[in-house]
């Protein structure tokens, strides 16, 4: 009998130990997946935060600039012709190159090199007539070669960088005229067809505006709905029906909301296409049930004794709700809202349907300017063929993840810092 009991006890301990191991294995598995995922993104994306420049010399020759005035004004500099000056700056890298082959050199920098030459002079008007060094944005192909992402051993005709260009690159690199610096323009430039110029400014602003619009529409509606349903509405079949539907709404695939936005906001109300305004409203439809559910849960969590205390003091229902219940439920409601917004932040499908997938090469200044959003930007770049976009996709994912982590962190802080402890 004693032996039997001992065996039983041993079995129970073993069962518990086994169970704990299953749990540990599950967590380990999840963590290793996460590690692989993060490694993939970081190893591919970190190079996008570096920008490659080609350093050459530019001669701001008044004659070539077609400037006649003795002391030219800002307008004169603005309207000068920079084509020849810029062209000479690049071709001077290899003076022996026949003129008909010059494109090979020009292709090594971004097509905007002429603007860069112009901008430098506009910033430093005293460079006029002088020979000064200048940094030009390297083309995405040179950029990729410099970052070691471009294999040199494939046949020349399959390469976008030919042997001559590689030779020039090597020469410049040896001279130290290839610079690698932090890529500010990735954050300050809008999207571009050229990988070396493309940035996330337009999609980042699009995301910010969308989230703000989403917050402005969903938060008041959701909180009012939650307060009414939880504190005032009679409990009957109809309110049960509404509750079930809110829960169902939270489970509706986001693309359906996109179709709704397309069908109602664009087709019926004629709101401007491709804008954060429409995107934000569409996302707010999606966020609404999430916030309602969170707000109701946190209203429910306020102890009934607080309501009784206020009612017994002669507070009306409205006063009880506004003075006590709602303020006490706010931390939970707010963290639920942030979680809802974080979900909306990562949504792609509904935004594609309402046209926020358009190529936008301007930075939106208001919610009614066309814009993309970060997840859509990831989608757009991942469709692009150029090698330079591969790292941009990963870099954009990193920015999106950072955004998400910040928001979830904010939700945690709100919950822990402002939540009242009950006695």
């Amino acid at each position: 009998m004693n032996n039997f009991k001992q065996n039983l006890l041993k079995k129970r301990y073993n069962a518990e130990r086994r169970f704990q191991w299953y749990g540990k294995i599950a967590i380990g598995l999840a963590l290793s997946f996460l590690a692989v995922f993060m490694f993939q993104i970081f190893s591919k994306g970190y190079s996008a935060f570096q920008k490659t420049w080609i350093v050459t010399e530019v001669h701001y020759d008044k004659e070539l600039l077609l400037i006649d005035a003795e002391s030219p004004s800002k307008d004169d500099l603005e309207n000068a012709d920079y084509y020849d000056v810029a062209y000479k700056a690049m071709t001077s890298l290899d003076p022996g190159l026949p003129e008909e082959e010059d494109r090979q050199l020009i292709q090594m920098v971004s097509y905007k090199y002429e603007t860069e030459v112009k901008d430098l002079l506009l910033k430093n008007p005293d460079y006029l007539g002088k020979i000064v060094p200048i940094k030009l944005t390297a083309s995405d192909d040179v950029d990729q070669v410099h970052k070691g992402n471009y294999p040199r051993d494939i046949p020349e005709k399959n390469r976008r960088v030919n042997d001559y260009q590689l030779q020039i690159y090597d020469m410049l690199n040896e001279r130290g005229d290839i610079l690698s610096e932090f890529n500010i323009s990735f954050f300050t430039s809008p999207d571009s067809r050229e990988a070396e110029l493309a940035g996330i400014a337009s999609s980042f602003m699009g995301t910010v505006f969308s989230i703000l619009v989403c917050l402005a529409f969903s938060f008041p509606v959701a909180v009012l709905a939650a307060i009414y349903l939880e504190e005032f509405a009679p409990k009957n079949k109809f309110t049960d029906f509404i509750e079930v539907n809110i829960n169902n709404l939270a489970a509706v695939p986001s693309i359906v909301f996109g179709l709704l936005g397309l069908g109602v906001l664009l087709a019926v109300f004629n709101l401007p296409r491709s804008t954060p305004l429409v995107g934000g409203i569409t996302l707010s439809l999606m966020t609404l049930p999430t916030i309602i559910i969170a707000a109701r849960a946190s209203l429910k969590a306020v102890p009934p004794s607080i309501r009784e205390a206020a009612l017994a003091m002669g507070a009306s229902n409205m006063q009880t709700t506004m003075h006590h219940t709602v303020p006490l439920s706010m931390p939970g409601t707010l963290s639920g809202t942030i979680i809802g917004l974080a979900q909306a932040l990562g949504e792609t499908a509904p935004l594609i349907l309402i046209g926020m997938v358009a190529f936008v090469n301007t930075i939106p200044g208001t919610p009614v300017d066309p814009a993309a959003s970060l997840p859509v930007q990831i989608y757009i770049w991942s469709e692009s063929a150029e090698r330079g976009f591969v790292e941009k996709v990963s870099a954009c994912i990193m920015v999106l993840l950072a955004f998400l982590i910040l928001m979830n962190l904010a939700a945690q802080i709100v919950r822990h810092k402002f939540e009242k402890k009950w006695s």
Partner: protein, 251 residues
């Protein structure tokens, strides 16, 4: 003199009847204790007196409850006004998670009792003094009320209740969550308060009823079995059930 006069009060929770024909006269500026085993309806009756049963949707109250000839069990009654003159202290201390000052000032604020900051300060001070809490908290009025000890919290709730100068205070087992020392303080307080206020107290402790009350009502299974002067109920009850209960034979 009678303050509250209840006649044939019946209370139903849905289809279940919780109180049967309760009639009771509660005298002014006295302490009336309601005793009885759990689930006997004494708290239900107490909550009829400030209409707190309104909160429970399935609850239905029949009969007449008059306070100074004002019918309490009427749809037309303004419960906000009623609760201004009938305060309540609950079983578990339930101060608002706000400062001590705000806890006491809440009632006067919503009822517009104080005209100025000085007046409000005065009300807060008097209420806390009457609740015998002033000396303990006067230097930390801006601390959160829920940070006080259990007994202090309950006295804070009493201060909150008397801040609007009610005519009646209902107490629903106010000491059941407190230790004996805190209980003794509350009982002393009740003794002081009855000079100005009519008090109805529901209690599980028969010794407490005997100590603090002048009249006692014994409830059993939703019926008021016996009601009379506390001395008589405890020493020489008319009813056998009352006798059995107070001698501890059941309950």
């Amino acid at each position: 003199m009678s303050k509250i006069k209840a006649e044939n009060v019946n209370v139903y929770y849905g289809s279940k009847q919780a109180l049967f024909d309760v009639s009771i006269d509660i005298a002014e500026k006295e302490v009336t204790a309601l005793i009885g085993p759990s689930g006997c309806g004494k708290s239900t009756f107490l909550r009829c007196l400030n209409r707190m049963n309104d909160v429970i949707e399935i609850c239905r109250v029949e009969g007449s409850i008059k306070m100074d000839n004002l019918e309490l069990n009427s749809r037309k009654l303004d419960v906000v006004r009623l609760r201004e003159s009938v305060g309540m202290v609950f079983q578990k201390p339930n101060p608002f998670p706000k400062t001590i000052y705000e806890n006491v000032a809440y009632g006067p604020t919503i009822h517009g009792i104080a005209q100025s900051k000085e007046e409000m300060d005065q009300i807060v001070e008097t209420s806390l003094k009457k609740a015998a809490l002033w000396n303990e908290v006067k230097d930390r009025l801006d601390e959160i009320g829920t940070g006080l000890s259990g007994g202090q919290q309950q006295r804070l709730c009493i201060a909150r209740a008397i801040s609007v100068s009610p005519e009646v205070i209902l107490m629903d087992e106010p000491c059941s969550a407190l230790d004996p020392i805190a209980t003794a303080q509350i009982e002393e307080l009740i003794d002081d308060l009855k000079k100005e206020v009519t008090i109805v107290i529901v209690t599980h402790s028969m010794s407490q009823a005997a100590r603090v009350s002048q009249k006692t009502g014994f409830f059993h299974l939703g019926k008021l079995i016996e009601f009379g002067p506390t001395d008589k109920i405890f020493k020489n009850p008319d009813n056998q059930q009352t006798q059995d209960y107070i001698t501890g034979r059941f309950g």
